[in-house]
Symmetry: C2
Subunit: 248 residues, 2 copies
Amino acid sequence: MKRIMLIVAYDGTNYCGWQIQPNGITIEEILNRNLTELLKESIAVTGASRTDSGVHALGNVAVFNTETRIPGEKISFALNQRLPKDIVIQHSREVPLDFHPRFCNSIKTYQYRIVNSRFPIPTQRLYSYFVYYPLMAEEMSQAAECLIGEHDFKSFCSARTQITDTIRRIYDIRVERTGNNITITVSGNGFLYNMVRIIAGTLIKVGLGIYPPSHVKEILEKKDRLAAGPKAPAQGLTLYHIEYPDLS
Amino acid sequence: MKRIMLIVAYDGTNYCGWQIQPNGITIEEILNRNLTELLKESIAVTGASRTDSGVHALGNVAVFNTETRIPGEKISFALNQRLPKDIVIQHSREVPLDFHPRFCNSIKTYQYRIVNSRFPIPTQRLYSYFVYYPLMAEEMSQAAECLIGEHDFKSFCSARTQITDTIRRIYDIRVERTGNNITITVSGNGFLYNMVRIIAGTLIKVGLGIYPPSHVKEILEKKDRLAAGPKAPAQGLTLYHIEYPDLS
């Protein structure tokens, strides 16, 4: 038996997120079905990040065990032949049997994209959140700084979760404007449920002038979901990549 | 009576191009139907560029005559309320009655986008052309230079056209690589049928090393469609904007 790691890119528009669920089609389900057909054995993948409905990925990670004799690095090519065009394996390879994409030490990077203009841009509508009122990117960037480091991010975690350890470390967060596009890029050792979307929704309130930049530190200290801004819509979010420093 | 100009952005994925045709839904048809309903008079727009099926636009231009009392600059807001999400008016205003978007002096800018990587990127698949083999962007850029200026672009014009004057002026053409993305940005005083897509298809052949950069000048001189490369696929092309220097 061997363990294969996949780097999975997808356009989340037409999926009910990563995780298998009864009410709609998911990325996990499509991968399981196509791997099972390809390898002629029952396959169930384990994903690194259970992205929400409508969220995109350039580099989510999944693993599965298999008896196949197909070399690890060839599985991407074979699987891509079968997958729909909105899911593409970017890379595949063999990893140690004890590698787990959620429990191993990792650095995840997400990007949240905003189109800030008078009218929406049709070709960007599926991959960004449209904000009509002018956003002050400089203030958003300033506000974001206090999130860097190890903190209790309880204020930035969906109340609909049973998790108790809400301490995470953000390595970097950048807010950049290029013309009408504003991107929030954040990397950390783990993210709570809806954390990036709540950070984006909170920074947008700063950008609109509703919160002063210094208010974000107060939100953090309150450890109360109600203190933060709303979660920004799913389509603006993309899971960029996941690095596993201990994986050789 | 007054004449209104619209700047129209659209995601061309689900349309059979700009121009009304019997076999599928088009941008022109959607605009006519919605303007007719909004203004309660029969409206027929005239477009600047009759983009092909699957081609996108950030700034195509259309004009129409109307008796409405709605101020020109308010029409964009009212019309956007009715339009599907993949067509968005970016601007509207009154223009002189003799302004014609095709026959008036203009500078059009198109962009052709290529994703050049080992595997396609799902979130870019609708707005770019995927090329697997590594492209030499520097050579493409060098090859493109000879197209700048006034030339007979007969080699770069679809044979399926009755046009006789194939002389056009290209003001600028730039090939730029950012990571796995290559963009070809070209502006000129007018473009022949499929001209930008044939230029892109030809430059891709240079990028692949099939043509040396100097060969593009020879293609131009041959004045024969068969001398140039294939037309690159529609989804990579976006009409960026159209400037009318004589329109105040």
